[in-house]
């Protein structure tokens, strides 16, 4: 049996005495594109924050490629090959687009805290940064401060920062939120290309995006996984229809 890229075992999270995540078990296979859907307040973003160690879990275990990462710091988890984007754009606003991406991949290329090398002279860094700039389609904006980009451009940069380090497991939190139809189409194409051969987990509200991209879908309701399966299985699941899709379709 092949090992899951990401596995959650009995994950709980409470804020004060309010439980938000009530025992989530989830296994995501290598190379799978997995979408997490659910009504507002179901705890989807919280789940991402637990996996990526933005918040500590109250109880339960998170495994990355079979390795227990519960309790590690966010930067340690990132170094193990898990990278995430944010629902609210989270970039380096005063740095240029190019600089944003370069900062996002320095660690992965092994430059750590070096203060004895000139960053402009690092050929591998330059090649990789140029590649990402092209991939996310921001070549014409590369010198512009990230804070001055349009919303859709910032979302593309957000994805660029997330994938720049070459992580195997990518978490995208509502990558197309607030986008127009054409922007969403572009974003889906972008996500498809940049996550080729990687494991993708995403939270998404746009059902078109979810059913177009995902190999498997999990439905999160009140901090529990209500159902998990292929898009067809989820579509045909009466409990899901009742709890989520039905109300959404009205």
């Amino acid at each position: 049996m092949s090992q899951a890229a990401l596995e959650l075992k009995g994950v709980h999270k409470s804020f004060g005495r309010t439980p938000i995540i009530n025992g989530v078990d989830l296994a995501i296979a290598q190379g799978e594109r997995h979408a997490i859907i659910g009504p507002n307040g179901a705890g989807k973003s919280t789940l991402f924050n637990l996996i990526s160690a933005r918040f500590p879990v109250t109880s339960g275990q998170v495994l990355l490629n079979g390795q227990d990462i519960t309790g590690l710091e966010a930067h340690e988890i990132n170094r193990k090959g898990l990278s995430r984007s944010f629902q609210i754009t989270n970039i380096f606003p005063r740095l240029s687009v190019y600089e944003n991406l370069r900062c996002a991949l320095l660690w992965s290329l092994g430059y750590r805290y070096s203060f004895w090398q000139r960053v402009g002279g690092l050929k591998d860094v330059r090649a990789r940064t140029e590649e990402i700039v092209d991939k996310i389609g921001l070549s014409r904006r590369r010198e512009r401060p990230a804070g001055m980009l349009s919303y859709a451009e910032q979302r593309a940069l957000e994805i660029g920062i997330t994938i720049a380090g070459g992580a195997d497991v990518i978490l995208l939190d509502e990558p197309t939120a607030g986008m127009s139809h054409s922007e969403t189409r572009d974003a889906v194409e972008l996500i498809r290309t940049v996550t080729q051969g990687k494991t993708l987990v995403m939270v998404e509200h746009d059902m078109g995006v979810v059913f177009g991209l995902a190999d498997r879908i999990s439905v999160l309701v009140y901090g529990r996984v209500l159902a998990s399966g292929t898009p067809e299985e989820i579509r045909g699941n009466p409990a899901v229809r009742e709890a989520y899709l039905g109300t959404e379709a009205d």
Binding site: H75, F92, R102, C103, A104, L106, S108, Q117, G120, L122
Partner: protein
């Protein structure tokens, strides 16, 4: 790419040339010691900006590293004089640098665990603590009198005795140049870039694999090294170090230098250091009220030019590149003239107040702008107040044509499209 490298090299070459040639034009002792003071201030202010401008750390205690470097250097110099330690005075700043680094490693470990307001508060606490230690350990800090030393204690090295101020100036200028290059080079390294990233968004830095605490800590250690170098140059220049050098006032002073110059640009603090050092030594010899003027100047900078002088200069770069700057000159001149009016009124009021409060018993008449003034007479007060009030109005009016000139320049720049 190569052209930008070339222009950078040219900038450094010109800087070096200016530093070498300056003493030829300013031969008087006063000017030379002011230039020396500026060199020290430049290193200190740039090291401060590694924290504030580049890493987003507002420190109220950076003088701790300057001052402790200065004290250690004074002791080292005295040890050299006593024959217990051997090092040419030329290399003595390294001792101060290492001392600064050492204390940066210790104190920084505590302060950089937090950023933002907690960092500012802890740095203030450490500054107070070290200042308190200065009175508790008179053996090391020399009590109220400080530690005196003599830069000629060392053996002359390649003919350098550091007796003449010119030699001291060139020592400071040499170290200043080296430190400027080193600190600029640091901004171009992975750590330097990640410092900017941590300044902008520490949380995001975590999610690209960096520990923001570690980034802050390393930057603080490196900046303490340069602060220590500045401190030991201070020791060599003034031949005395006192507890004031580690205190909160000295820490505030370097903050003002960096801020006035502009923390958003590498060279901003250089401008600030030069200007503030100049004001401190030149203005203080003209008027008792210099601290008040200095404070007001700082307040106006924070309110109206938070990017500092550097950003005031750089906003003109696009216009200058497009050859449109001459269009702004007449309205700038007009505003400058208009500004002189309220300044004159304000200065008159301040000077008369100081005169009445502190010097009236001397019976000396007050000389203002070449006129003999009698501050005990109400007329001059009324006139000054009117000049101030009318001047402010005049100045505000003069901003209208300036605004119009800027609008026309911006419109033209826009019409020509992005460069």
């Amino acid at each position: 790419m190569s052209s930008s490298l070339l222009s950078r090299l040219a900038t450094w070459a010109v800087t070096a040339l200016v530093m070498i040639l300056l003493p030829l034009f300013f031969k008087q002792g006063f000017a030379l010691s002011m230039l020396s003071q500026m060199g020290i201030a430049i290193i200190f202010a740039l090291s401060y900006n590694m924290l504030l401008g580049q890493t987003g750390l507002l420190s109220f205690g950076h003088a701790v590293y300057y001052g402790l470097g200065a004290f250690i250097c004074a002791h080292a110099l005295n040890a050299i004089g006593a024959g217990r330690f051997h090092l040419p005075v030329t290399l003595l700043p390294l001792v101060g640098g290492v001392a600064g680094l050492f204390f940066g490693i210790i104190f920084g470990y505590v302060t950089t665990r937090r950023s933002g307001t907690p960092f500012a508060m802890i740095s203030l606490g450490i500054a107070e603590m070290v200042a308190a230690c200065a009175l508790m350990f008179p053996g090391f800090f020399g009590g109220e009198g400080g530690i005196a030393t003599n830069r000629q204690l060392g053996q002359p090295w390649h003919g350098l005795s550091y007796g003449p101020q010119t030699q001291v100036y060139y020592l400071i200028a040499g170290w200043c140049f080296l430190c400027m290059i080193a600190m600029f080079a640091l901004t171009q390294t992975p750590l330097g870039r990640m410092a900017n990233a941590v300044r902008d968004n520490p949380e995001r830095a975590k999610f690209v694999g960096y520990n923001p605490t570690r980034v802050r800590y390393l930057v603080l250690c490196l900046s303490s090294f340069f602060a220590g170098i500045a401190g030991s140059l201070g020791t060599i220049n003034y031949e005395i170090v006192t507890a004031e050098n580690v205190g909160v006032v000295a820490s505030g002073n370097v903050l003002i230098m960096a801020f006035v110059g502009g923390v958003g640009h590498f060279f901003g603090p250089v401008i600030g250091a030069v200007l503030v050092s100049f004001l401190q030594s030149a203005l203080s010899s003209y008027t008792q009220g210099w601290l008040l003027y200095f404070g007001l100047f700082f307040v106006f900078m924070v309110l109206f030019a938070p990017g500092g002088i550097a950003s005031l200069l750089t906003v003109h770069v696009p216009a200058a590149r497009a050859g449109l700057f001459p269009r702004l000159v007449p309205s700038y001149l007009l505003s400058a003239v208009a500004l002189a009016v309220p300044l004159a009124g304000g200065i008159a009021l301040v000077e008369m107040t100081y005169h009445l409060e502190t010097q009236s018993e001397l019976g000396k008449g007050l000389k203002l702008f070449g006129l003999n003034v009698d501050p005990s007479h109400p007329t001059v007060w009324i006139v000054s107040a009117i000049v101030l009030a009318a001047g402010v109005g005049l100045f505000l009016l003069s901003l209208l044509p300036l605004k119009a000139a800027w609008q026309s320049v911006n419109a033209e720049l826009q019409a020509r499209g992005p460069a």
